[in-house]
């Protein structure tokens, strides 16, 4: 009959109205500044730069390869390469970003920079309280503001950070093994060279 659906609907809203006063678990509202819920692990908003160790400047993983800058759809990343080089985690000499800016008012949180980074240097943060009274300078984050420790990364995305750390440890071990092999080979070669070099030296004697 006409109007049945209306009555059913009214009953549903009346039930919700009354029950919201009785059972608190119905209310989904979180009283935000006072109450907070922990973000879920997959939360992401804006990118940050990961650094290892204590010194943020020395520990930055970024090698200023500019892949993220080129891939960024809204072009919110600006990188200037350094003139000099510093050793990375395996001891290889790499250039580093002399300037690394992200304009978070332009960033659309797509995570493409994270996906393309071959050095695990840029990751997504969960920090969302970024409001500022300075809408130009305050939203343009420089290298210092973007640099966050690997500990922070491990805290906000534990699973992902664990994988990254394992991968990097593997790479480092491989690099060390290779360096050791290389060193041994070099030593052997040097020894062999010394051996082969000796007779002429002796011959020359």
């Amino acid at each position: 009959m006409l109007g049945e659906g209306l009555l059913k609907g009214l009953a549903v809203t009346a039930k919700n109205f009354a029950a919201s006063y009785v059972s608190a678990e119905r209310l989904t509202t979180v009283q935000y500044p006072e109450e907070r819920i922990a973000p879920i692990e997959a939360t992401r908003d804006f990118p940050f730069l990961v650094y290892d160790g204590e010194d943020w400047e020395a520990g930055l993983r970024c090698v200023a390869c500019q892949i993220c800058e080129k891939e960024c759809p809204p072009k919110c990343i600006y990188i200037e390469k350094s003139k000099d080089k510093k050793p990375d985690f395996v001891g290889k000499m790499q250039i580093y970003p002399a300037r690394f800016d992200i304009d978070i008012s332009v960033c659309m949180s797509c995570q493409i920079c994270v996906e393309v980074c071959p050095f695990e240097a840029i990751k997504m943060d969960t920090e969302f309280e970024l409001s500022t009274t300075d809408r130009f300078g305050g939203l343009l984050h420089d290298r210092r503001a973007l640099a966050k420790s690997n500990g922070h990364y491990r805290k906000i995305h534990p699973t992902e950070a664990g994988e990254v750390d394992a991968r990097r440890a593997g790479e480092k071990a491989k690099a060390e093994a290779k360096a050791k092999l290389d060193a041994e080979a070099a030593a052997a070669k040097a020894a062999a060279a010394a051996k082969t070099a000796e007779p002429p030296a002796g011959a020359g004697d």
Partner: protein
């Protein structure tokens, strides 16, 4: 003492006017009444906005506003202050004069309705013989203001909203009037004071409100439907349709003019609730004879606020109708049944007292409701969709 409490506002006015020379008493009395109306109903509007935001929140398992003042009670004040401090933008292409006048016309027309509504015993601004007629003629002016707003803004959304509003208001004005006509037929008066007095009798403890008769109940339901449509309330909020038309006819309004539209909408709602209470719920009369000692104005305002709560409940429940559904409902269901209701009211009048009038009237209306609901409101079944390839 109880009589004094009932007449407290009337006595207060008399006392106030006693300080004036006799010549000025009449105009000053009108002025005092007008000021009272202009003070009371915006306050009630603020309360209903708060009720609405809280109530809708609870219906959606939210808390509603709770930051400004205790229980968020000062939220309407904060909203008002905010709209006062906002920039008033008039589009460059707008017809500035009409654009400026539209909210004023709406508000004035909405307030004018209260002039003839008795808000308590002896509490009516103008004792007009044709009060109901005056009310409806003023109500028709809101349509004009809505169209003024939509037309003068020179915006497609505004114009579409205004077109929808006019179509809807014209369609539902007819059942609104027809549902009130039966009350006039039975009570024999267009004066709202007389209509209330006609309902202020009791059988045992129960009142003779018109809603407790078959034709009265039918008229009341039609009245609620038509009133929600007239005030552009959900589920008939197509003229605003925020998901389709930004804000409908007041898209191009900002600052305090927007607030005036908002106020006008709620004042219209309060006014139509007041009329509904007057016509069908016995106005200021008590719901039971033994409650007659409670001041009459308390009954009137509690009836109005209860109607507002019902409107809020309805808004929290119903999705918006489509334009064709709206029109079908108005012309295929509401109009025929309200026309039939006029006949039923006449039959009630001439069938004489006793059970016969009850049985006959109830039967006719129930059959019409079921029949029209089945025949007129049937959903068209088109069957499963079939894709045909082009040959």
């Amino acid at each position: 003492m109880i009589d004094k409490l009932d007449q407290i506002f009337v006595l207060f006015e008399h006392w106030l006017l006693g300080y004036l020379p006799a010549f000025w008493r009449q105009p000053a009395g009108v002025l005092v009444n007008v000021v009272a109306i202009i003070a009371v109903f915006p306050t009630l509007m603020a309360i209903s906005v708060w009720l609405e935001r809280k109530g809708l929140g609870r219906m959606q398992n939210r808390l509603g506003p709770n930051r400004v003042g205790p229980f968020g009670l000062l939220q309407p004040v904060a909203d008002g202050l905010k709209s006062l401090t906002k920039e008033d933008i008039v589009p460059r292409n707008a017809d500035a004069a009409v654009h400026f006048l539209a909210p004023l016309v709406l508000l004035v027309a909405a307030f004018m309705g209260f002039a003839v509504i008795p808000m308590g015993r002896n509490m009516v601004l103008v004792e007009m013989d044709a009060g109901l007629l005056f009310y409806f003629s003023m109500g028709a002016a809101t349509e004009l203001s809505v169209f003024m707003a939509g037309w003068s803004s020179r915006n497609k959304y505004s114009l579409l909203g205004a077109m929808r509003a006019v179509a809807q208001m014209v369609s539902y004005e007819v059942p609104l009037l027809l549902s009130s006509v039966v009350v006039v037929m039975i009570s024999g008066s267009l004066s709202l004071t007389k209509i209330v007095e006609a309902q202020n009798h009791y059988t045992g403890v129960f009142p003779h409100w018109y809603v407790f008769t078959p034709w009265g109940l039918a008229a009341f339901v039609i009245f609620i439907v038509a009133a929600t449509a007239e005030t552009n309330r959900s589920p008939f909020d197509l003229p605003e349709g925020e998901s389709e038309l930004v804000a409908g006819y007041f898209t191009e309004y900002s600052g305090f003019k927007f607030a005036l539209f908002f106020l006008g909408e709620y004042i219209g709602m309060l006014s139509v609730a007041a009329l509904g209470a007057t016509l069908f719920l016995g106005g200021w009369s008590a719901p039971f004879s033994f409650l007659g000692w409670v001041p009459s104005w308390i009954w009137f305002f509690s009836k109005v606020m209860l109607s507002i709560c019902f409107f809020i409940w309805l808004r929290g429940t119903m999705p918006r109708l489509r334009q064709d559904q709206l029109m079908n409902f108005a012309w295929k269901f509401v109009l025929p049944i309200s026309l039939l209701n006029v006949l039923v009211a006449a039959a009630w009048r001439f069938l004489g007292g006793g059970w016969r009038q009850w049985v006959v009237c109830t039967l006719i209306l129930a059959l019409a409701y079921v029949g029209l609901g089945w025949g007129g409101m049937r959903r068209k079944r088109f069957g499963p969709r079939r894709y045909r390839y082009a040959e």
